[in-house]
Symmetry: D2
Subunit: 140 residues, 4 copies
């Protein structure tokens, strides 16, 4: 039986006007920005800064799939806790899961996941280097 | 056996710099903007302008779920064909499906779906008015 | 005495939820997206598609200065008329001016300008090619 | 002779993919998001949280003018220092000035200003309450 996935806080953000829409809550597409912040900080904390993947290893991790469940809205000026985990590290792809919680009371606002492929500079699917996999597995 | 869902083109957009990111392709969260354009135009063409839902009927349709599959990237200056269908019209929710195709050659770039709940001005789940359901069913 | 600048409509857009903020009007930074749409269509109509500048000539036109005056707000679902002119075509820079009007009644909502430098692939300031200047002057 | 304006750091942000465009640098309109973050944190540090202005006093501060000078580009993953000052506090408007500097070396990337009007819930120009003016003057 698989252990349940443990998400941990990797960043905090505060909702600005530019994130909201006229419902007075965060625009549904902008949560994907928060997911990006979460996974980039997750990778940094795992010792695998995304910028280095690109610049040193010539790799990129485009998102090939995303899913979001909007439970409750995040509102203007809310501080949000961005939480992430990396439950699957495949040969040439990784799957992140996310939770966005209101910092004040821990309320779960949004959940989601993304699948990222590993591609080389030419856009061809490429194996994750062993060092990267080891670092991610150590952190997961 | 259910008939296959027929999507139809409801709008066209051209990719601008502001939609792209440094991979040179559309930022993954910005496709949700295109989905919004698609469903708003779908509703308008069905005789149910979203603005009227809000202003005349006091209803809103927040997105409660979204999913996206990124098959191929849309690039700067590409003209995109936004296609949508409404395969499910529930009592208090609707499900849209979307395709984004490159206009030049019809290539499928992105697919996705959203589920929208119907809520009243106070945010309480509310039945879709019969007139709205009838208009949507006639178009679907 | 200089002739007054004649702006002409180069594109139309409809305001989506993703453009608005919780004031119920377009977020102040998003008008710069509309300015981009306007100048790209202006260039296309002048026979100088921006994509070709980049891909064929290896040039880019980064914005070095922008100014905006917000007269009246654009609202959700408004159709906007994007108007532009090119009053200055310098050796290595151009200055665009913009107006955003509500299509329904022609009301002026936002005015602005941008100055764009011409740089080569290495980011070095570069003269606008004579053919480009001629095309822009013919149109202006 | 007026004393020179002293800007101070009010927030830090890190550039994400969602902020960049295909030039590999921050999209020109997105710096206005950074300006918003800067002025909101400036107001919070002055004891005048913007959310309270809206919710307790029924006031809003729409931007009526903005100007930006793009000196050098901010790049993906750069940490930015957002700096602001409030050189003018009028009867019914305020003028903010901003600097965005690269945190690593202090390099000035972008400068700008915004003028904000004070309006009531109905959108009518309204005097800044004395308490707010006093707090802002104490901080400026």
């Amino acid at each position: 039986m698989a252990a349940p996935v443990q998400l941990r806080e990797v960043a905090r953000v505060r909702v600005i006007y530019g994130d909201t829409d006229q419902m007075g809550t965060v625009y549904y597409g902008n949560y994907l920005r928060y997911f990006e912040i979460a996974r980039v900080e997750y990778l940094r904390q795992a010792g695998v800064p995304y910028r280095d993947l690109e610049e040193s290893l010539g790799l990129r991790l485009p998102v090939v799939e995303a899913g979001v469940r909007y439970r409750r809205p995040a509102r203007y000026d809310d501080e949000l806790s961005l939480r992430a985990a990396l439950p699957q590290i495949g040969g040439a792809s990784v799957r992140f899961v996310y939770e966005i919680r209101r910092l004040a009371d821990g309320e779960l606002l949004v959940e989601g996941h993304t699948v990222l492929a590993c591609v080389d500079a030419a856009g061809k699917v490429s194996r994750l280097p062993n060092g990267v996999r080891a670092a991610l597995n150590a952190k997961a």
